[in-house]
Protein backbone atom coordinates (compact mmCIF):
# COMPACT_ATOMS: atom_id res chain seq x y z
CA UNK A 1 0.00 0.00 0.00
CA UNK A 2 2.81 2.42 0.93
CA UNK A 3 4.56 1.51 -2.30
CA UNK A 4 1.45 2.31 -4.29
CA UNK A 5 1.02 5.59 -2.50
CA UNK A 6 4.62 6.77 -3.02
CA UNK A 7 4.57 5.97 -6.71
CA UNK A 8 1.14 7.56 -6.95
CA UNK A 9 2.55 10.77 -5.52
CA UNK A 10 4.87 11.06 -8.53
CA UNK A 11 1.91 11.51 -10.86
CA UNK A 12 0.70 15.10 -11.10
CA UNK A 13 -2.84 14.02 -11.94
CA UNK A 14 -2.99 11.78 -8.90
CA UNK A 15 -1.64 14.56 -6.65
CA UNK A 16 -4.38 16.95 -7.79
CA UNK A 17 -6.94 14.20 -7.29
CA UNK A 18 -5.73 13.39 -3.79
CA UNK A 19 -5.71 17.08 -2.85
CA UNK A 20 -9.32 17.45 -3.99
CA UNK A 21 -10.27 14.30 -2.12
CA UNK A 22 -8.72 15.64 1.07
CA UNK A 23 -10.79 18.80 0.63
CA UNK A 24 -13.99 16.75 0.46
CA UNK A 25 -12.98 14.71 3.52
CA UNK A 26 -12.48 17.92 5.47
CA UNK A 27 -15.77 19.24 4.16
CA UNK A 28 -17.62 16.08 5.16
CA UNK A 29 -16.13 15.46 8.58
CA UNK A 30 -15.03 18.89 9.84
CA UNK A 31 -17.34 21.14 7.81
CA UNK A 32 -20.59 20.24 9.59
CA UNK A 33 -19.19 21.80 12.79
CA UNK A 34 -18.54 25.09 11.00
CA UNK A 35 -21.92 25.64 9.35
CA UNK A 36 -25.34 26.01 10.92
CA UNK A 37 -28.14 23.48 11.10
CA UNK A 38 -28.92 22.47 7.50
CA UNK A 39 -32.58 21.84 8.29
CA UNK A 40 -33.26 25.09 10.19
CA UNK A 41 -35.66 27.47 8.48
CA UNK A 42 -33.57 30.61 8.81
CA UNK A 43 -34.45 32.76 5.86
CA UNK A 44 -37.10 33.54 3.26
CA UNK A 45 -37.46 30.79 0.64
CA UNK A 46 -35.40 31.00 -2.55
CA UNK A 47 -33.18 33.93 -1.66
CA UNK A 48 -30.25 34.35 -4.02
CA UNK A 49 -26.65 34.22 -2.77
CA UNK A 50 -25.90 37.05 -0.34
CA UNK A 51 -23.52 37.90 2.51
CA UNK A 52 -25.87 36.25 4.98
CA UNK A 53 -26.50 33.11 2.95
CA UNK A 54 -23.44 32.61 0.77
CA UNK A 55 -25.18 30.17 -1.53
CA UNK A 56 -28.73 31.40 -1.00
CA UNK A 57 -31.66 29.51 0.49
CA UNK A 58 -33.75 26.55 -0.66
CA UNK A 59 -37.46 26.48 -1.42
CA UNK A 60 -38.01 25.88 2.29
CA UNK A 61 -35.76 28.73 3.39
CA UNK A 62 -32.87 26.52 4.49
CA UNK A 63 -29.24 27.49 3.97
CA UNK A 64 -27.86 25.93 0.77
CA UNK A 65 -24.23 26.11 1.92
CA UNK A 66 -25.01 24.22 5.12
CA UNK A 67 -26.96 21.60 3.16
CA UNK A 68 -24.14 21.15 0.65
CA UNK A 69 -21.49 20.76 3.35
CA UNK A 70 -23.52 18.44 5.57
CA UNK A 71 -24.74 16.48 2.54
CA UNK A 72 -21.14 15.55 1.75
CA UNK A 73 -20.97 13.47 4.93
CA UNK A 74 -23.82 11.06 4.14
CA UNK A 75 -22.97 10.81 0.47
CA UNK A 76 -19.27 10.21 1.04
CA UNK A 77 -19.86 7.67 3.82
CA UNK A 78 -22.37 5.64 1.83
CA UNK A 79 -20.08 5.87 -1.19
CA UNK A 80 -16.98 4.66 0.66
CA UNK A 81 -18.77 1.87 2.51
CA UNK A 82 -20.45 0.66 -0.67
CA UNK A 83 -17.14 0.91 -2.53
CA UNK A 84 -15.38 -1.26 0.07
CA UNK A 85 -18.15 -3.85 0.14
CA UNK A 86 -18.28 -4.03 -3.63
CA UNK A 87 -14.53 -4.66 -3.86
CA UNK A 88 -14.67 -7.17 -1.03
CA UNK A 89 -17.39 -9.18 -2.74
CA UNK A 90 -15.71 -8.73 -6.10
CA UNK A 91 -12.37 -9.99 -4.76
CA UNK A 92 -13.99 -12.99 -3.07
CA UNK A 93 -16.23 -14.03 -5.96
CA UNK A 94 -13.72 -13.14 -8.67
CA UNK A 95 -10.77 -14.59 -6.77
CA UNK A 96 -12.66 -17.78 -6.03
CA UNK A 97 -13.72 -18.20 -9.65
CA UNK A 98 -10.23 -17.44 -10.94
CA UNK A 99 -8.44 -19.65 -8.43
CA UNK A 100 -10.66 -22.69 -8.55
CA UNK A 101 -11.48 -22.63 -12.27
CA UNK A 102 -13.53 -25.44 -13.79
CA UNK A 103 -17.21 -25.80 -12.89
CA UNK A 104 -17.01 -23.25 -10.04
CA UNK A 105 -15.65 -20.69 -12.46
CA UNK A 106 -18.34 -21.49 -15.03
CA UNK A 107 -21.09 -21.07 -12.46
CA UNK A 108 -19.74 -17.88 -10.90
CA UNK A 109 -18.95 -16.36 -14.29
CA UNK A 110 -22.50 -16.99 -15.42
CA UNK A 111 -23.79 -15.26 -12.29
CA UNK A 112 -21.44 -12.31 -12.82
CA UNK A 113 -22.43 -11.95 -16.46
CA UNK A 114 -26.12 -12.08 -15.67
CA UNK A 115 -25.81 -9.30 -13.11
CA UNK A 116 -23.76 -7.30 -15.61
CA UNK A 117 -26.31 -7.54 -18.36
CA UNK A 118 -29.37 -6.74 -16.24
CA UNK A 119 -29.98 -2.96 -16.44
CA UNK A 120 -28.88 -1.47 -13.12
CA UNK A 121 -31.17 1.44 -12.47
CA UNK A 122 -34.55 -0.30 -12.93
CA UNK A 123 -33.38 -3.13 -10.66
CA UNK A 124 -32.15 -0.62 -8.07
CA UNK A 125 -35.43 1.27 -8.21
CA UNK A 126 -37.50 -1.88 -7.75
CA UNK A 127 -35.35 -2.95 -4.78
CA UNK A 128 -35.26 0.49 -3.18
CA UNK A 129 -39.00 0.96 -3.62
CA UNK A 130 -39.71 -2.15 -1.56
CA UNK A 131 -37.03 -1.70 1.13
CA UNK A 132 -37.52 0.75 3.99
CA UNK A 133 -35.72 3.99 3.11
CA UNK A 134 -32.40 4.66 4.87
CA UNK A 135 -28.62 4.52 4.47
CA UNK A 136 -28.44 0.77 5.21
CA UNK A 137 -30.99 -0.09 2.55
CA UNK A 138 -29.18 2.26 0.19
CA UNK A 139 -25.87 0.43 0.71
CA UNK A 140 -27.56 -2.93 0.30
CA UNK A 141 -29.21 -1.93 -2.97
CA UNK A 142 -26.02 -0.43 -4.38
CA UNK A 143 -23.89 -3.44 -3.43
CA UNK A 144 -26.39 -5.94 -4.78
CA UNK A 145 -26.59 -4.22 -8.15
CA UNK A 146 -22.96 -3.10 -8.41
CA UNK A 147 -20.70 -5.97 -7.37
CA UNK A 148 -20.53 -7.77 -10.70
CA UNK A 149 -18.26 -5.44 -12.67
CA UNK A 150 -15.47 -5.63 -10.09
CA UNK A 151 -15.88 -9.36 -9.71
CA UNK A 152 -15.38 -9.73 -13.46
CA UNK A 153 -12.25 -7.60 -13.53
CA UNK A 154 -10.72 -9.28 -10.49
CA UNK A 155 -11.58 -12.73 -11.83
CA UNK A 156 -9.65 -12.01 -15.01
CA UNK A 157 -6.64 -10.92 -12.98
CA UNK A 158 -6.82 -13.97 -10.69
CA UNK A 159 -7.01 -16.17 -13.77
CA UNK A 160 -3.74 -14.82 -15.16
CA UNK A 161 -2.04 -14.96 -11.76
CA UNK A 162 -3.01 -18.61 -11.39
CA UNK A 163 -0.85 -19.48 -14.35
CA UNK A 164 2.27 -17.94 -12.82
CA UNK A 165 5.10 -20.14 -11.57
CA UNK A 166 4.84 -19.13 -7.92
CA UNK A 167 1.22 -20.27 -7.82
CA UNK A 168 2.15 -23.52 -9.52
CA UNK A 169 4.91 -23.99 -6.92
CA UNK A 170 2.40 -23.44 -4.13
CA UNK A 171 0.05 -25.95 -5.73
CA UNK A 172 2.80 -28.54 -6.09
CA UNK A 173 3.87 -28.11 -2.48
CA UNK A 174 0.34 -29.07 -1.54
CA UNK A 175 -1.07 -25.82 -0.25
CA UNK A 176 -4.84 -25.65 0.07
CA UNK A 177 -6.75 -23.48 -2.39
CA UNK A 178 -7.87 -21.22 0.45
CA UNK A 179 -4.24 -20.45 1.26
CA UNK A 180 -3.42 -20.01 -2.43
CA UNK A 181 -6.31 -17.56 -2.78
CA UNK A 182 -5.55 -15.49 0.32
CA UNK A 183 -1.75 -15.69 0.43
CA UNK A 184 -0.62 -16.06 -3.18
CA UNK A 185 -3.30 -14.48 -5.36
CA UNK A 186 -5.17 -11.72 -3.51
CA UNK A 187 -2.06 -9.92 -2.16
CA UNK A 188 -0.78 -9.70 -5.73
CA UNK A 189 -3.91 -7.87 -6.85
CA UNK A 190 -3.70 -4.97 -4.38
CA UNK A 191 -3.10 -2.37 -7.09
CA UNK A 192 -6.06 -3.53 -9.08
CA UNK A 193 -8.19 -3.74 -5.96
CA UNK A 194 -7.36 -0.16 -5.01
CA UNK A 195 -8.36 1.09 -8.44
CA UNK A 196 -11.48 -1.09 -8.35
CA UNK A 197 -12.35 0.45 -5.00
CA UNK A 198 -12.04 3.94 -6.46
CA UNK A 199 -14.14 2.99 -9.47
CA UNK A 200 -16.76 1.38 -7.22
CA UNK A 201 -16.91 4.50 -5.05
CA UNK A 202 -17.53 6.68 -8.11
CA UNK A 203 -20.29 4.31 -9.11
CA UNK A 204 -21.78 4.28 -5.61
CA UNK A 205 -21.87 8.07 -5.31
CA UNK A 206 -23.47 8.47 -8.74
CA UNK A 207 -26.04 5.74 -8.28
CA UNK A 208 -26.91 6.87 -4.77
CA UNK A 209 -27.47 10.45 -5.91
CA UNK A 210 -29.59 9.19 -8.81
CA UNK A 211 -31.80 7.07 -6.58
CA UNK A 212 -32.25 9.83 -4.04
CA UNK A 213 -33.05 12.25 -6.84
CA UNK A 214 -35.95 9.97 -7.75
CA UNK A 215 -37.13 10.21 -4.14
CA UNK A 216 -35.98 6.73 -3.11
CA UNK A 217 -33.72 7.76 -0.24
CA UNK A 218 -34.55 8.82 3.27
CA UNK A 219 -35.83 12.32 2.54
CA UNK A 220 -35.31 13.41 6.15
CA UNK A 221 -31.54 12.97 5.85
CA UNK A 222 -29.46 15.72 4.27
CA UNK A 223 -27.37 14.30 1.43
CA UNK A 224 -26.34 15.46 -2.01
CA UNK A 225 -29.03 13.32 -3.60
CA UNK A 226 -31.84 14.61 -1.40
CA UNK A 227 -30.62 18.19 -1.97
CA UNK A 228 -31.19 17.67 -5.69
CA UNK A 229 -34.51 15.97 -5.04
CA UNK A 230 -35.79 18.97 -3.10
CA UNK A 231 -34.40 21.40 -5.67
CA UNK A 232 -36.33 19.62 -8.39
CA UNK A 233 -39.36 19.22 -6.15
CA UNK A 234 -39.41 22.96 -5.45
CA UNK A 235 -39.39 23.64 -9.21
CA UNK A 236 -35.86 25.06 -9.24
CA UNK A 237 -35.88 25.09 -13.04
CA UNK A 238 -39.11 27.05 -13.39
CA UNK A 239 -38.25 29.58 -10.69
CA UNK A 240 -34.73 30.01 -12.09
CA UNK A 241 -33.15 29.40 -8.66
CA UNK A 242 -29.95 27.87 -9.97
CA UNK A 243 -28.19 28.14 -6.61
CA UNK A 244 -30.32 25.34 -5.18
CA UNK A 245 -28.88 22.69 -7.51
CA UNK A 246 -25.60 24.02 -8.94
CA UNK A 247 -23.39 23.79 -5.78
CA UNK A 248 -24.38 20.20 -4.96
CA UNK A 249 -24.03 18.98 -8.54
CA UNK A 250 -20.69 20.69 -8.86
CA UNK A 251 -19.43 18.98 -5.71
CA UNK A 252 -20.58 15.57 -6.99
CA UNK A 253 -18.78 16.14 -10.27
CA UNK A 254 -15.64 17.42 -8.57
CA UNK A 255 -15.55 14.40 -6.26
CA UNK A 256 -15.99 12.02 -9.20
CA UNK A 257 -13.31 13.92 -11.12
CA UNK A 258 -10.88 13.73 -8.19
CA UNK A 259 -11.36 9.97 -7.93
CA UNK A 260 -10.96 9.57 -11.70
CA UNK A 261 -7.70 11.54 -11.58
CA UNK A 262 -6.34 9.28 -8.86
CA UNK A 263 -7.27 6.29 -11.00
CA UNK A 264 -5.48 7.81 -14.00
CA UNK A 265 -2.37 8.15 -11.84
CA UNK A 266 -2.71 4.58 -10.61
CA UNK A 267 -3.09 3.48 -14.18
CA UNK A 268 0.23 4.95 -15.15
CA UNK A 269 1.85 3.28 -12.15
CA UNK A 270 0.39 -0.21 -12.45
CA UNK A 271 0.17 -0.44 -16.23
CA UNK A 272 3.43 0.76 -17.79
CA UNK A 273 2.20 -0.40 -21.20
CA UNK A 274 -0.21 2.51 -21.33
CA UNK A 275 2.44 5.06 -20.45
CA UNK A 276 5.05 3.74 -22.89
CA UNK A 277 3.36 1.63 -25.56
CA UNK A 278 5.70 -0.79 -27.26
CA UNK A 279 6.28 0.03 -30.88
CA UNK A 280 8.05 -3.24 -31.56
CA UNK A 281 6.14 -6.46 -31.94
CA UNK A 282 2.46 -7.03 -31.50
CA UNK A 283 1.02 -5.51 -28.35
CA UNK A 284 -1.97 -7.49 -27.25
CA UNK A 285 -4.84 -5.41 -25.96
CA UNK A 286 -5.11 -5.80 -22.22
CA UNK A 287 -8.51 -4.76 -21.00
CA UNK A 288 -7.53 -2.97 -17.87
CA UNK A 289 -9.90 -2.16 -15.10
CA UNK A 290 -7.85 0.88 -14.36
CA UNK A 291 -8.58 2.43 -17.71
CA UNK A 292 -12.00 3.96 -17.50
CA UNK A 293 -13.66 1.76 -20.08
CA UNK A 294 -17.08 2.80 -21.32
CA UNK A 295 -18.56 0.37 -18.88
CA UNK A 296 -16.90 1.59 -15.73
CA UNK A 297 -17.08 5.23 -16.80
CA UNK A 298 -20.73 5.05 -17.60
CA UNK A 299 -21.41 3.05 -14.50
CA UNK A 300 -23.25 5.89 -12.86
CA UNK A 301 -26.73 6.79 -13.80
Amino acid sequence: MTRIFTSLWKSRQARVGMGLLLFFFLMAFVGPFLVGDPLAFDGRPLLGPSAEHWLGTTGQGQDVLAQTVVGARTTLLVGLITGSLVVLIGALVGGLAGTLGGKTDDGLSLLINIFLVLPGLPLMVVLAAWLPAGPVSMCAVLVLTGWAWNARVLRAQALTLRQRDFVAAAQVSGESWIRILFVEILPNMTGLMVSSFIGATIYAVGAQVGLEFLGLGDLGVVSWGTNLYWASNDQALLTGSWWTFVPTGFCIALLGFALTLINFGLDAVTNPKLAHPQRVGPTPFIPSAVTPSPVSRAAKP
Partner: protein, 328 residues
Amino acid sequence: MKAAAGWLARRLGFYVIAAIVAVVLNFLIPRLMPGDPASVLFARFQGDLDPEAIEGLRKTFGLQDAPLHEQFYSYISALAHGDLGLSVAYFPTPVSEVLGEGLMWTGLLAGGAVLISFVLGSSLGALAAWKKGGPLDTVLPPLLAFLGAFPYFWLAMLAAWVFGFQLDWFPLRHAYADNLAPSFSWPFIQSVISHAFLPALTMVLVSLGGWLLAMRNTMIGVLGAEHVRYAQARGLTPRRILVHYAARNALLPNVAGFGMALGFVLSGALLTEVVFSYPGTGLLLLTAVRGQDYPLLQGLFLAITFAVLSANWLVDVVTVALDPRTRT
Protein backbone atom coordinates in the same frame (compact mmCIF):
# COMPACT_ATOMS: atom_id res chain seq x y z
CA MET B 1 -20.61 -19.60 -40.84
CA LYS B 2 -21.33 -22.66 -38.71
CA ALA B 3 -19.10 -21.49 -35.86
CA ALA B 4 -20.75 -18.09 -35.90
CA ALA B 5 -24.22 -19.62 -35.74
CA GLY B 6 -23.16 -21.79 -32.80
CA TRP B 7 -21.72 -18.80 -30.99
CA LEU B 8 -24.85 -16.72 -31.58
CA ALA B 9 -26.99 -19.60 -30.34
CA ARG B 10 -24.90 -19.84 -27.15
CA ARG B 11 -25.25 -16.09 -26.61
CA LEU B 12 -28.99 -16.40 -27.13
CA GLY B 13 -29.05 -19.15 -24.52
CA PHE B 14 -27.27 -16.85 -22.09
CA TYR B 15 -29.76 -14.03 -22.65
CA VAL B 16 -32.63 -16.44 -22.13
CA ILE B 17 -31.10 -17.48 -18.78
CA ALA B 18 -30.65 -13.82 -17.84
CA ALA B 19 -34.28 -13.14 -18.78
CA ILE B 20 -35.42 -16.05 -16.61
CA VAL B 21 -33.38 -14.65 -13.70
CA ALA B 22 -35.06 -11.28 -14.20
CA VAL B 23 -38.51 -12.86 -14.24
CA VAL B 24 -37.77 -14.82 -11.05
CA LEU B 25 -36.26 -11.75 -9.33
CA ASN B 26 -39.33 -9.78 -10.29
CA PHE B 27 -41.46 -12.43 -8.62
CA LEU B 28 -39.31 -12.84 -5.51
CA ILE B 29 -38.39 -9.24 -4.62
CA PRO B 30 -41.83 -8.16 -3.36
CA ARG B 31 -42.20 -11.45 -1.51
CA LEU B 32 -38.79 -11.54 0.18
CA MET B 33 -38.93 -8.00 1.54
CA PRO B 34 -39.15 -7.45 5.28
CA GLY B 35 -42.69 -7.43 6.61
CA ASP B 36 -45.74 -8.66 4.83
CA PRO B 37 -45.86 -6.93 1.45
CA ALA B 38 -49.54 -7.61 0.92
CA SER B 39 -50.68 -5.84 4.06
CA VAL B 40 -48.17 -3.00 3.58
CA LEU B 41 -49.42 -2.50 0.07
CA PHE B 42 -53.07 -2.58 0.96
CA ALA B 43 -52.60 -0.40 4.01
CA ARG B 44 -51.06 2.24 1.75
CA PHE B 45 -53.97 2.19 -0.63
CA GLN B 46 -56.69 1.93 1.98
CA GLY B 47 -59.42 4.36 1.03
CA ASP B 48 -57.51 5.67 -1.99
CA LEU B 49 -58.55 2.97 -4.39
CA ASP B 50 -61.80 1.33 -5.18
CA PRO B 51 -62.11 -2.35 -4.26
CA GLU B 52 -61.83 -3.29 -7.92
CA ALA B 53 -58.32 -1.82 -8.12
CA ILE B 54 -57.25 -3.55 -4.94
CA GLU B 55 -58.54 -6.82 -6.34
CA GLY B 56 -56.47 -6.12 -9.46
CA LEU B 57 -53.36 -5.51 -7.34
CA ARG B 58 -53.96 -8.69 -5.42
CA LYS B 59 -54.24 -10.62 -8.65
CA THR B 60 -51.13 -9.06 -10.21
CA PHE B 61 -48.97 -9.88 -7.30
CA GLY B 62 -50.58 -13.18 -6.57
CA LEU B 63 -50.17 -11.98 -3.00
CA GLN B 64 -52.87 -14.30 -1.86
CA ASP B 65 -52.50 -16.84 0.86
CA ALA B 66 -51.76 -19.52 -1.71
CA PRO B 67 -48.45 -21.39 -1.41
CA LEU B 68 -45.47 -19.86 -3.19
CA HIS B 69 -45.36 -22.30 -6.09
CA GLU B 70 -49.03 -21.69 -6.91
CA GLN B 71 -48.44 -17.94 -6.79
CA PHE B 72 -45.51 -18.43 -9.14
CA TYR B 73 -47.65 -20.46 -11.51
CA SER B 74 -50.34 -17.79 -11.74
CA TYR B 75 -47.65 -15.09 -12.13
CA ILE B 76 -46.01 -16.96 -15.00
CA SER B 77 -49.23 -17.75 -16.80
CA ALA B 78 -50.33 -14.09 -16.57
CA LEU B 79 -46.91 -13.01 -17.86
CA ALA B 80 -47.09 -15.46 -20.75
CA HIS B 81 -50.29 -13.74 -21.86
CA GLY B 82 -48.61 -10.34 -21.67
CA ASP B 83 -50.77 -9.52 -18.67
CA LEU B 84 -48.75 -7.34 -16.28
CA GLY B 85 -51.76 -6.25 -14.29
CA LEU B 86 -53.42 -2.86 -14.05
CA SER B 87 -51.54 0.34 -13.39
CA VAL B 88 -52.47 2.16 -10.19
CA ALA B 89 -51.38 5.60 -11.35
CA TYR B 90 -53.16 5.30 -14.70
CA PHE B 91 -55.98 3.14 -13.39
CA PRO B 92 -57.61 1.25 -15.08
CA THR B 93 -55.17 1.13 -18.01
CA PRO B 94 -53.27 -2.17 -18.21
CA VAL B 95 -49.56 -1.83 -17.44
CA SER B 96 -48.60 -3.33 -20.80
CA GLU B 97 -50.43 -0.50 -22.59
CA VAL B 98 -48.75 2.21 -20.50
CA LEU B 99 -45.35 0.64 -21.19
CA GLY B 100 -45.66 0.55 -24.97
CA GLU B 101 -45.52 4.28 -25.59
CA GLY B 102 -42.85 4.85 -22.96
CA LEU B 103 -40.58 2.25 -24.53
CA MET B 104 -40.94 3.87 -27.93
CA TRP B 105 -39.84 7.32 -26.75
CA THR B 106 -36.96 5.94 -24.68
CA GLY B 107 -35.84 3.85 -27.64
CA LEU B 108 -35.83 6.93 -29.84
CA LEU B 109 -34.04 9.22 -27.39
CA ALA B 110 -31.61 6.85 -25.67
CA GLY B 111 -30.97 4.76 -28.77
CA GLY B 112 -30.18 7.84 -30.83
CA ALA B 113 -27.96 9.37 -28.16
CA VAL B 114 -26.03 6.13 -27.61
CA LEU B 115 -25.38 5.68 -31.33
CA ILE B 116 -24.22 9.28 -31.81
CA SER B 117 -21.99 9.06 -28.75
CA PHE B 118 -20.50 5.73 -29.82
CA VAL B 119 -19.68 6.82 -33.39
CA LEU B 120 -18.34 10.22 -32.35
CA GLY B 121 -16.39 8.90 -29.34
CA SER B 122 -14.78 6.04 -31.26
CA SER B 123 -13.73 8.33 -34.13
CA LEU B 124 -12.24 10.91 -31.78
CA GLY B 125 -10.52 8.15 -29.80
CA ALA B 126 -8.95 6.72 -32.96
CA LEU B 127 -7.68 10.18 -33.92
CA ALA B 128 -6.34 10.84 -30.42
CA ALA B 129 -4.34 7.60 -30.49
CA TRP B 130 -3.13 8.30 -34.04
CA LYS B 131 -1.63 11.59 -32.91
CA LYS B 132 -0.63 10.43 -29.43
CA GLY B 133 0.45 13.38 -27.33
CA GLY B 134 -1.13 15.81 -29.81
CA PRO B 135 -3.64 18.50 -28.87
CA LEU B 136 -6.62 16.16 -29.31
CA ASP B 137 -4.99 13.57 -27.08
CA THR B 138 -4.00 15.91 -24.26
CA VAL B 139 -7.04 18.22 -24.12
CA LEU B 140 -10.05 16.04 -24.85
CA PRO B 141 -9.63 13.07 -22.47
CA PRO B 142 -9.32 15.09 -19.24
CA LEU B 143 -12.05 17.50 -20.38
CA LEU B 144 -14.46 14.69 -21.16
CA ALA B 145 -13.47 12.84 -17.99
CA PHE B 146 -14.47 15.97 -16.10
CA LEU B 147 -17.79 16.21 -17.98
CA GLY B 148 -18.31 12.49 -17.47
CA ALA B 149 -18.01 12.96 -13.73
CA PHE B 150 -21.23 14.98 -13.63
CA PRO B 151 -24.38 13.07 -12.85
CA TYR B 152 -26.33 12.79 -16.13
CA PHE B 153 -29.44 14.34 -14.72
CA TRP B 154 -27.60 17.22 -13.11
CA LEU B 155 -26.00 18.24 -16.39
CA ALA B 156 -29.46 17.88 -17.87
CA MET B 157 -30.86 20.24 -15.22
CA LEU B 158 -28.15 22.77 -16.00
CA ALA B 159 -28.74 22.51 -19.76
CA ALA B 160 -32.49 22.82 -19.24
CA TRP B 161 -32.01 25.88 -17.11
CA VAL B 162 -29.51 27.65 -19.41
CA PHE B 163 -30.80 26.73 -22.88
CA GLY B 164 -34.41 25.99 -22.06
CA PHE B 165 -35.28 28.49 -19.38
CA GLN B 166 -32.84 31.42 -19.66
CA LEU B 167 -32.18 31.50 -23.41
CA ASP B 168 -35.44 29.79 -24.42
CA TRP B 169 -33.77 28.09 -27.40
CA PHE B 170 -35.30 24.70 -26.80
CA PRO B 171 -38.57 23.50 -25.31
CA LEU B 172 -38.28 22.33 -21.72
CA ARG B 173 -40.83 19.57 -21.43
CA HIS B 174 -42.46 16.68 -23.28
CA ALA B 175 -41.57 14.97 -26.54
CA TYR B 176 -43.50 17.19 -28.96
CA ALA B 177 -45.56 20.39 -28.88
CA ASP B 178 -48.96 20.06 -27.25
CA ASN B 179 -50.79 21.56 -30.24
CA LEU B 180 -49.55 18.91 -32.69
CA ALA B 181 -51.01 15.48 -33.29
CA PRO B 182 -48.52 12.65 -33.94
CA SER B 183 -48.12 12.22 -37.69
CA PHE B 184 -45.40 11.83 -40.30
CA SER B 185 -45.50 15.50 -41.20
CA TRP B 186 -42.52 17.84 -41.19
CA PRO B 187 -43.73 20.17 -38.40
CA PHE B 188 -44.25 17.17 -36.14
CA ILE B 189 -40.85 15.64 -36.86
CA GLN B 190 -39.25 19.05 -36.36
CA SER B 191 -40.99 19.37 -33.01
CA VAL B 192 -39.82 15.90 -31.96
CA ILE B 193 -36.22 16.73 -32.88
CA SER B 194 -36.18 20.06 -31.06
CA HIS B 195 -37.64 18.42 -27.96
CA ALA B 196 -35.11 15.58 -28.03
CA PHE B 197 -32.09 17.77 -28.75
CA LEU B 198 -31.17 18.93 -25.24
CA PRO B 199 -31.65 15.61 -23.43
CA ALA B 200 -29.73 13.82 -26.18
CA LEU B 201 -26.95 16.40 -26.06
CA THR B 202 -26.39 15.94 -22.33
CA MET B 203 -26.35 12.16 -22.71
CA VAL B 204 -23.81 12.35 -25.55
CA LEU B 205 -21.56 14.76 -23.64
CA VAL B 206 -21.48 12.63 -20.53
CA SER B 207 -20.90 9.26 -22.21
CA LEU B 208 -18.51 10.45 -24.95
CA GLY B 209 -15.40 10.25 -22.74
CA GLY B 210 -15.81 6.55 -22.03
CA TRP B 211 -15.93 5.57 -25.71
CA LEU B 212 -13.08 7.93 -26.54
CA LEU B 213 -10.75 6.53 -23.90
CA ALA B 214 -11.57 2.90 -24.63
CA MET B 215 -10.99 3.42 -28.36
CA ARG B 216 -7.81 5.39 -27.75
CA ASN B 217 -6.30 2.72 -25.54
CA THR B 218 -7.18 -0.13 -27.89
CA MET B 219 -5.86 1.86 -30.85
CA ILE B 220 -2.50 2.41 -29.16
CA GLY B 221 -2.18 -1.35 -28.85
CA VAL B 222 -3.23 -1.99 -32.45
CA LEU B 223 -0.95 0.73 -33.82
CA GLY B 224 2.03 -1.19 -32.42
CA ALA B 225 0.94 -4.42 -34.14
CA GLU B 226 2.83 -6.09 -36.96
CA HIS B 227 0.21 -5.66 -39.65
CA VAL B 228 0.16 -1.90 -39.13
CA ARG B 229 3.94 -1.71 -39.39
CA TYR B 230 3.75 -3.82 -42.52
CA ALA B 231 1.18 -1.44 -43.97
CA GLN B 232 3.49 1.46 -43.14
CA ALA B 233 6.40 -0.34 -44.78
CA ARG B 234 4.33 -0.82 -47.92
CA GLY B 235 3.97 2.94 -48.08
CA LEU B 236 0.21 3.09 -47.79
CA THR B 237 -1.30 6.48 -47.12
CA PRO B 238 -1.68 7.31 -43.42
CA ARG B 239 -5.40 7.77 -43.92
CA ARG B 240 -5.76 4.26 -45.31
CA ILE B 241 -3.70 2.77 -42.48
CA LEU B 242 -5.70 4.67 -39.89
CA VAL B 243 -9.12 3.69 -41.18
CA HIS B 244 -8.66 0.25 -42.73
CA TYR B 245 -5.81 -1.25 -40.74
CA ALA B 246 -5.93 0.21 -37.25
CA ALA B 247 -9.37 1.64 -36.46
CA ARG B 248 -11.21 -1.30 -37.97
CA ASN B 249 -9.46 -3.74 -35.66
CA ALA B 250 -9.55 -1.51 -32.63
CA LEU B 251 -13.30 -1.09 -33.00
CA LEU B 252 -14.07 -4.73 -32.21
CA PRO B 253 -13.56 -4.68 -28.42
CA ASN B 254 -15.44 -1.40 -28.37
CA VAL B 255 -18.42 -2.96 -30.11
CA ALA B 256 -18.37 -5.78 -27.59
CA GLY B 257 -18.27 -3.20 -24.79
CA PHE B 258 -21.20 -1.42 -26.42
CA GLY B 259 -23.62 -4.14 -25.40
CA MET B 260 -22.31 -4.20 -21.84
CA ALA B 261 -22.49 -0.43 -21.50
CA LEU B 262 -26.02 -0.24 -22.82
CA GLY B 263 -27.61 -1.02 -19.48
CA PHE B 264 -25.56 1.66 -17.73
CA VAL B 265 -26.16 4.30 -20.37
CA LEU B 266 -29.85 3.52 -20.26
CA SER B 267 -29.87 4.12 -16.50
CA GLY B 268 -28.58 7.63 -17.13
CA ALA B 269 -31.06 8.17 -19.93
CA LEU B 270 -33.94 7.33 -17.63
CA LEU B 271 -32.91 10.04 -15.17
CA THR B 272 -32.40 12.57 -17.97
CA GLU B 273 -35.95 11.90 -19.12
CA VAL B 274 -37.16 12.74 -15.65
CA VAL B 275 -35.51 16.17 -15.79
CA PHE B 276 -37.03 17.00 -19.17
CA SER B 277 -40.39 15.37 -18.42
CA TYR B 278 -39.74 13.33 -21.56
CA PRO B 279 -42.57 10.78 -21.79
CA GLY B 280 -40.31 7.70 -21.87
CA THR B 281 -39.82 4.85 -19.43
CA GLY B 282 -37.78 7.07 -17.09
CA LEU B 283 -40.72 9.36 -16.46
CA LEU B 284 -42.94 6.32 -16.02
CA LEU B 285 -40.44 5.02 -13.47
CA LEU B 286 -40.76 8.28 -11.55
CA THR B 287 -44.55 8.19 -11.77
CA ALA B 288 -44.50 4.63 -10.52
CA VAL B 289 -42.20 5.49 -7.58
CA ARG B 290 -44.09 8.62 -6.54
CA GLY B 291 -47.51 7.02 -6.97
CA GLN B 292 -46.40 3.75 -5.38
CA ASP B 293 -47.59 2.05 -8.52
CA TYR B 294 -45.95 -1.30 -7.89
CA PRO B 295 -47.49 -3.16 -10.84
CA LEU B 296 -46.12 -0.50 -13.21
CA LEU B 297 -42.73 -0.58 -11.47
CA GLN B 298 -42.42 -4.34 -11.83
CA GLY B 299 -43.61 -4.18 -15.42
CA LEU B 300 -41.07 -1.47 -16.21
CA PHE B 301 -38.24 -3.56 -14.79
CA LEU B 302 -39.21 -6.52 -16.95
CA ALA B 303 -39.79 -4.49 -20.11
CA ILE B 304 -36.53 -2.54 -19.83
CA THR B 305 -34.60 -5.72 -19.07
CA PHE B 306 -36.03 -7.52 -22.08
CA ALA B 307 -35.26 -4.53 -24.28
CA VAL B 308 -31.65 -4.41 -23.07
CA LEU B 309 -31.19 -8.15 -23.56
CA SER B 310 -32.54 -7.97 -27.10
CA ALA B 311 -30.28 -5.02 -27.89
CA ASN B 312 -27.33 -7.01 -26.56
CA TRP B 313 -28.10 -9.87 -28.86
CA LEU B 314 -28.32 -7.47 -31.80
CA VAL B 315 -24.85 -6.19 -30.88
CA ASP B 316 -23.63 -9.79 -30.94
CA VAL B 317 -25.03 -10.20 -34.44
CA VAL B 318 -23.22 -7.02 -35.50
CA THR B 319 -19.99 -8.32 -33.96
CA VAL B 320 -20.24 -11.47 -36.05
CA ALA B 321 -20.81 -9.36 -39.15
CA LEU B 322 -17.78 -7.17 -38.37
CA ASP B 323 -15.30 -9.80 -37.25
CA PRO B 324 -14.32 -12.26 -39.96
CA ARG B 325 -12.65 -14.53 -37.38
CA THR B 326 -16.02 -15.52 -35.93
CA ARG B 327 -17.29 -16.46 -39.39
CA THR B 328 -14.74 -19.12 -40.22
